[in-house]
Symmetry: C2
Subunit: 478 residues, 2 copies
């Protein structure tokens, strides 16, 4: 893993020459996406086997944009591109790649090449690279690493996936309590092997337990003679090494953290997390609810297609089961439908509108649970809130459709039946939309994954049952 | 707005006394949410009018947790709580409050009290506080501010909402190119009025245009005599002042930024954005897709209920329209249904499964568009991908339901009809799920807001039409 010499990262490049700046603006559009013309040009050069042209086009790009370029190509072009720009494929590009794309490229490489990448990367990125490999390949790569890097990666791999232990950086700056601001600056200047990737300095006690954090701007603003214990903030957010990444992301967000100390069970400082590593987790965790609720798994467009089909089909088959249950409710009323086929025309309106209302409530509640806004302290208030919303919407929709049906079909009883069924199903939808996710959450089942099946079943079954049942009970069908 | 004296934020508090630490752990659970017992205790003290007990319970909390506490209460308790802990209601608490809760509290306060809060806050938070007020209140508050603060807030308010100009911090550290590391450190120590909220120093040319950025850790690791131009990074991500916040968030994420320079049209440095201000935008923008797709507006559980009803009802009425269109398709087949009522039993299965498959594709495509993963360079590959997935799922589901229906009802022709309809509707679902959002995006309409209506209509209409139409065409209904 990268250890910079001091003075770190001296950048003696000239400002971008005009030609290069122009080439860069050729590659990115206003919204910072790679331009289609640019992508096409690279693809054509790849197809023509003109590696030099490919290299020249890609070279000015930021590593994150190079990673994006890989995602835009299909599998064959990805491997060809990696071959053409192997000199540019540094640890930064690899770290920015989509998981599936990285796996494809890494599987095509020999272990020593993977090890070379891992050595260029920070611990967390190297772990992300190596954790994807199967056991044999993983051993082969680890064997190629420096003993120190290997030890760091192996100890990270010992923590479960998606925990702070996997994500954290082991390289950090920790200093004893007795140090002064001047002493710290001298220490930083003298130790060439320290990381440059830090935004705060951790002050630790003799047992290496964090006692405070110094933001670098405070250190730069303070006279050399002041003790660190006088500038540091004692009130810290410590992250236990086993904490789930979703929880870590919420804490970074809630307390607006830039970095945080990771501690083991005995409270010793074992690593740091910085916000730039957390930002993509915040985005992933917030964005995954829509994918999970719709049964699209992690919804990654780079996923191998067989895996996508399996994930989506599993969900669809489960829903087929609930659709059959709902259909069997309709089956109970076949006789009535045969006598009065208009019921079959109108019944999907009632079930469908219930489904829409249920999905609205479900989306709101799943987000509120995920962001810790809905807790047991406001559960009852929120249930009452959803009930009031469902009543208002159900009455409005019931009146609207009821009056419409009564007029169009000149049948006030039919209007009353569909209006009442609409109100009932909206109430079912509102209550199912909040009670289902709350119940799943209580049993520690992710409400985003399983709620929709139950809510849809409730609104389908009750939509059909309330409408067809009321129609029969009211004597509409003779 | 806060301007710290150097040495900044010297924290001379003792470590938390044991009693206070214990009280803190009494208030938060393992997942960092306020414990229900704690919330209940505060609520009881509020109801009993025991302001001292309320103050004592709330005082050890972090401002973000105090803000959470407000959200857990209903409107009356929120105002009572604000009264009981007015000493603790600093700018930080106000800044952390949910928009709706903040509006409620701020409307209850006189202008000079609001102005006092604004002066304690950083520009961006003060802007967020004041932008909610109506024009008269806003003028009254601005009149109470220091001229300098007023100017800063007024110029921020001149930028459109949700742009970099609204979000940015005006306080930053910018230094000329000729400075050395030592010169910078001396400048920072000598200027007591500089902000302490910075993570990078911007190096500017004589026209105040940024030419490079220095990470503070590099400055601390470098000998005093080195020129800043030798440690700074020239390759910067500059944010135009009019850039939309969603775009800003994507850029912070893509390039792992901690802070970034905001520049005006002539390229002059006018402010900075720091990642802690962007993190909640990343979370909001990623989380809003599920709410928008389901028609739940911004889905905030603290929103006044009338507003929530209006938002959700609008969406439901639009969907009622599409449900009526779908029902009218069924209406075309009333005669067939009257002769063969089993069709009415089975038809919701076909339309419902199409709806599920369409929602899956839609969720994936909306996320891929929002994260810039789907661009015109890979559109055709993605359409082909969704078509293949839809074919695989459609064939599987069609065979499954077709064979099941053939066996259960001992009617192979009925099985063939429903199987074929299922395949057709899955293809419709897959294609609508990708083509609808792509088309909306082309016309610069947010695909998350409007796609679901069109996709559901397509799968409902085609589900009914393909199944009932095939049933009639095949002679099933005699």
């Amino acid at each position: 893993m990268e250890r910079d010499a001091a003075p770190p990262e001296i950048d003696d490049r000239e400002p971008l020459p005009a030609a290069e700046a122009a080439r860069l603006s050729e590659s990115l559009d206003d919204e910072n996406r790679l331009k289609p013309e640019f992508v096409r040009r690279v693809r054509e050069a790849l197809d023509a086997g003109d590696r030099e042209a490919v290299y020249e086009a890609v070279e000015p790009l930021h590593p994150a944009d190079i990673a994006d370029l890989f995602e835009l190509f299909d599998e064959d072009d990805r491997l060809a591109l990696a071959g053409a720009i192997s000199d540019l494929m540094g640890g930064e590009v690899i770290a920015e790649l989509n998981d599936h794309v990285r796996e494809l490229l890494v599987e095509a490489l020999p272990p020593d090449a993977v090890a070379d990448f891992a050595e260029q990367m920070e611990t967390d990125d190297a772990v992300a690279l190596i954790e994807d490999l199967d056991a044999d390949d993983r051993q082969a790569v680890l064997a190629e690493l420096d003993p120190e890097d290997r030890a760091a990666i192996e100890s990270a791999l010992a923590y479960p996936e998606e925990t702070a232990g996997r994500l954290m950086q082991r390289d950090l700056v920790a200093v004893p309590e007795h140090m002064t601001v001047g002493g710290l600056i001298d220490y930083l200047r003298e130790h060439a092997d320290l990381t440059t990737e830090f935004w705060e300095v951790f002050v630790v006690d003799p047992l290496h337990r964090p006692v405070g954090t110094c933001q670098l701007s405070w250190i730069l603003r303070t006279p050399r003679t002041v003790a660190l214990t006088d500038v540091m903030k004692r009130d810290q957010t410590l992250i236990p090494v086993g904490m789930d990444q979703e929880e870590v992301a919420l804490r970074f967000q809630k307390y607006a953290l830039i970095s945080a100390a990771v501690v083991d069970d005995s409270g010793r400082l074992v690593g740091q997390l910085t916000v730039d590593d957390i930002v993509h987790i915040i985005q992933e965790e917030a964005g995954e609810d829509v994918l999970l609720l719709s049964g699209a798994g992690d919804g990654d467009i780079n996923e191998p297609i067989a895996l996508t089909v399996r994930t989506r089909l599993t969900w669809l088959v489960v829903n087929l089961g609930t659709a059959i249950v709902a259909a069997s409710v309709v089956g109970m009323f076949q006789g009535a439908i045969a006598r009065f086929a208009l019921l079959a025309v109108l019944m999907p309106i009632v079930s469908g509108m219930g489904g829409n209302a249920g999905t609205q409530t479900l989306a709101v509640i799943v987000r509120a649970l995920a962001t810790n806004q809905l807790t047991s302290s406001n559960t009852w208030r929120m249930i009452a809130r959803e009930f009031r919303i469902a009543t208002a919407n159900g009455l409005s929709l019931g009146l609207l459709i009821g009056a419409g049906v009564a007029l169009v079909f000149d049948n006030p009883l039919l209007g009353a039946v569909i209006g009442a069924a609409m109100l009932i199903n909206n109430l079912i939808a509102g209550l199912a939309g909040i009670l289902v996710p709350l119940t799943l959450e209580k049993f520690r089942i992710d409400p985003a994954v399983s709620s929709a099946v139950f809510v849809t079943m409730a609104t389908d079954v009750m939509g059909f049952f309330s409408f067809l049942g009321l129609a029969v009970a009211s004597g509409l069908t003779g």
